[in-house]
């Protein structure tokens, strides 16, 4: 009798193991990425960097750097630009969340040396360089990072059945890059995402957050749209059950990476579920916090005298 019960328990366990095995395998691949923070190189003479307060951990809170990349066929391996950089601070005690988008064209000293647009930090030195660059310039301690590729965002949104979002204005682009999938990555598509409440699948959600041609605020407008989609994703994620995990893991295969361990993710999931979307503070570094350079390179100049006090207020 004992033998029979043990055998059945084992076989039930094996069935469950087989069900979750692909997810576990993918989770081990994607999580616990080792972050190699490059040692800082002296800033070249003549480049004025910010002088933020030294980074410290705030008790009861953690900070994640969300990185979104063009990882289409125009790029080689992991040397991609981060089109989206969002710092998310979660206070687990007060349940307060602050999201701050960093303009991809922000002209800053990089942790790998020299001064360039901040989106190049990842390209030159991987996630460690992106984290160190943000920490050095903004004075915010980053606990972990999450990186997602273009196709990953499409797959994730499709895997959860799409998102409901109020698109704030029509997004029309006659020169939207047609670079996901096969074929010449330098082709263009026409896209038209209409305005108003609607249900978006992964492809249309990507069009909504990626296009920046038809927006006077260019990358800033895009940052606002990215935050809208992130919040819609968070709302939908609250409905995910454990049995959905293998399907989601398959959808994200190779398109998502994080320094968080599986154990840490498991700890944070209930915290994420308990957060109230309406209380999430959203910040986009629009003028006067930044201004254009009036130069062909199109980089964005940070006004550190305004940004650093803002950072100290929202990321103490």
């Amino acid at each position: 009798m004992t033998l029979a019960v043990t055998a059945i328990a084992l076989s039930v366990g094996s069935g469950g193991f087989a069900y979750f095995l692909p997810a576990v395998s993918e989770a081990f691949d994607a999580t616990g990425q080792v972050v190699d923070v490059p040692s800082p190189t002296p800033t070249p003479t003549g480049t004025v960097g910010p002088t933020p307060s030294p980074t410290t951990r705030t008790p009861g809170s953690f900070t994640v750097l969300l990185l979104g990349s063009d990882n289409d066929t125009k790029f080689i391996g992991d040397h991609v630009l981060t089109q989206s950089m969002i710092i998310v601070r979660v206070n687990t005690n007060t349940k307060k969340v602050v999201m701050m988008s960093i303009p991809r064209d922000l002209w800053v000293p990089l942790s790998t040396g020299g001064t360039a647009k901040i989106d190049g930090a990842y390209s030159y030195g991987g996630p460690g360089a992106a984290i160190a660059t943000v920490e050095n310039n903004f004075g915010i301690h980053i606990d972990d990072y999450i990186w997602i590729g273009l196709a990953g965002l499409v797959h994730v949104i499709d895997a959860i059945g799409g998102i409901d979002v109020v698109t704030s204005a029509p997004v029309l682009d006659d020169f939207y890059p047609h670079d996901i999938g096969k074929g010449n990555p330098y082709r263009y598509l026409r896209v038209a995402v209409l305005a108003g409440p609607q249900h978006l699948d992964g492809t249309h959600a990507l069009e909504y957050v990626r296009s920046r041609h038809n927006d006077l605020q260019s990358d800033f407008g895009r940052s606002q749209r990215q935050q809208q989609v992130l919040l819609a994703l968070k709302a939908k994620a609250a409905e995910i059950s454990a049995a959905d995990v293998p399907g989601l893991a398959a959808a994200m295969k190779g398109q998502i990476k994080t320094s968080m361990s599986l154990q840490r993710i498991a700890t944070l999931l209930p915290v994420a579920a308990s957060l109230d979307i309406k209380k999430i503070q959203q910040i986009v570094l629009l003028p006067p916090y930044t201004h254009g350079c009036g130069c062909p390179q199109g980089y964005v100049i940070p006004v550190w005298s305004l940004i650093l006090p803002l950072v100290q207020t929202y990321f103490p």
Partner: protein, 390 residues
């Protein structure tokens, strides 16, 4: 006595079944997040659908459907159909969208294409994406002679704003007249709504007080003269249009009541929630706003032709696709309460004592009328206006 062999075989079989069973069971525990929306014709609408008057037309996944007498009918195949508008003789205007352009067609109530009204494509040998055009939100003028629509001309390289155009029915865009001048880098002007007076209501996208893109409902009474170059703010002193709502109200999708005295619209107040808002309309200005639905993601408010209520689209649960809802008139225009009867003292009491004043019983509280969810598990196109005809 059962032999050891049979026992072992039975146990092995049990293990196989329990292993597979647990795998299959876990599969059945998946949420319905990824379930594709049902086809309307396969769904059973709620009993509320049977009380809706006339026929309601809407789109899902590129196909046109009608709802009449509580049953859905599929009128076209899923071929990019969207954005319906009324057309004489119970026909419809509809937009057919492809990957690179969209065109306006006349479709009869059985889904057969009667006429193509625009030609926004370009030869396949033309690789210039900007050689194609979009036509969205077609509406016919009240005299049925002019097609109003949102059209992407003029456009300036990366800047592709939609403007409101009026084209003689059956004519070409070259014969058309520009009725609005879009603000650049906003997406432009959408959802024209021609009025009986000859004026035009539409939705304009612009940068609000905090620099965010917002929508605003405008009215104009004549075509515009292009002033050339880019326009980065609402024209002051130039142009004929003027706003009916404030930028911070963030209102769009105007829909005029059958008697022309009330406008239903959605207002988001720059949030991710859209209220169903009503305002009286005297032909040139809007009265005070009244939000009658505030806790849903409301889209495409559409008046019943007999004024018995408003249909709209909204998800029943966030992220689960847009369903059809019905708000009966009593919910936003309850009948006036019947007058409280004046108490009449009962005669015959002692003259010396004061006449007792009977306390009138309080008027019964008006029942709260809630919106009725007509469909479940469907996924209507929330950017596509519905048409409701008798």
């Amino acid at each position: 006595m059962i032999s050891r062999f049979v026992l072992a075989a039975g146990l092995a079989l049990l293990m196989v079944f329990s292993g597979i069973g647990s795998y299959v069971y876990l599969g059945t525990r998946q949420s319905n997040l990824t379930a594709a929306p049902q086809e309307p014709t396969a769904a059973s609408p709620s009993p509320g659908a049977f009380s809706l008057p006339g026929t309601l037309f809407m789109t899902q996944s590129g196909a046109i459907y009608s709802l009449s007498a509580g049953r859905f009918h599929q009128l076209t195949t899923a071929a990019g159909w969207t954005q319906l508008a009324p057309y004489p003789s119970s026909n419809l205007l509809a937009v057919k969208r492809s990957q690179l352009s969209s065109d306006v067609y006349v479709v009869n109530r059985l889904g057969r294409v009667l006429r193509r009204l625009t030609n926004n494509t370009a030869p396949s040998t033309n690789y210039d994406p900007s050689a194609r055009h979009w036509s969205f939100y077609p509406r016919l003028s009240r005299n049925n002679k002019t097609l109003f629509m949102s059209y992407d001309k003029p456009k300036f390289g990366f800047d592709v704003p939609m403007s409101i155009w009026a084209v003689p029915l059956g004519g070409t865009i070259q014969q058309g007249r520009l009725w609005s001048i879009a603000i650049d880098y906003t997406g432009g002007d959408m959802q024209p709504l021609p009025l009986a007076s000859g004026a035009l209501i539409y939705t304009k996208y612009l940068y609000g007080p905090e620099g965010k893109l917002v929508s605003q409902i405008w009215i104009t009474n004549q075509p515009e003269v292009p002033y050339g170059g880019n326009v980065l703010a609402p024209p002051a002193g130039l142009g004929h249009g003027r706003p009916l709502t404030k930028p911070e109200e963030d209102c769009a999708q105007p829909s005029l009541s059958p008697n022309g005295k009330t406008i239903a619209m959605i207002c988001t107040h720059e949030t991710q929630v859209s209220d169903l808002t009503l305002a009286s309309f005297n032909g040139s200005t809007l009265g005070p706003r009244r939000s009658v639905i505030t806790n849903q993601l409301v889209a495409q408010p559409t008046w019943a032709p007999d004024s018995s209520g408003i249909a709209y689209l909204a998800p029943a649960q966030l992220g689960q696709g847009f369903q059809l809802w019905w708000l009966p008139k009593n919910a936003y225009a309850p009948p006036a309460p019947s007058p409280v009867p004046t108490p009449i003292p009962t005669p015959g009491g002692p003259v010396s004592s004061p006449v007792p004043t009977p306390t009138p019983s309080p008027a019964p509280a008006a029942p709260v009328i809630k919106p009725v969810q007509i469909t479940t598990n469907l996924g209507f196109d929330a950017t596509s206006p519905m048409v409701w005809i008798t």
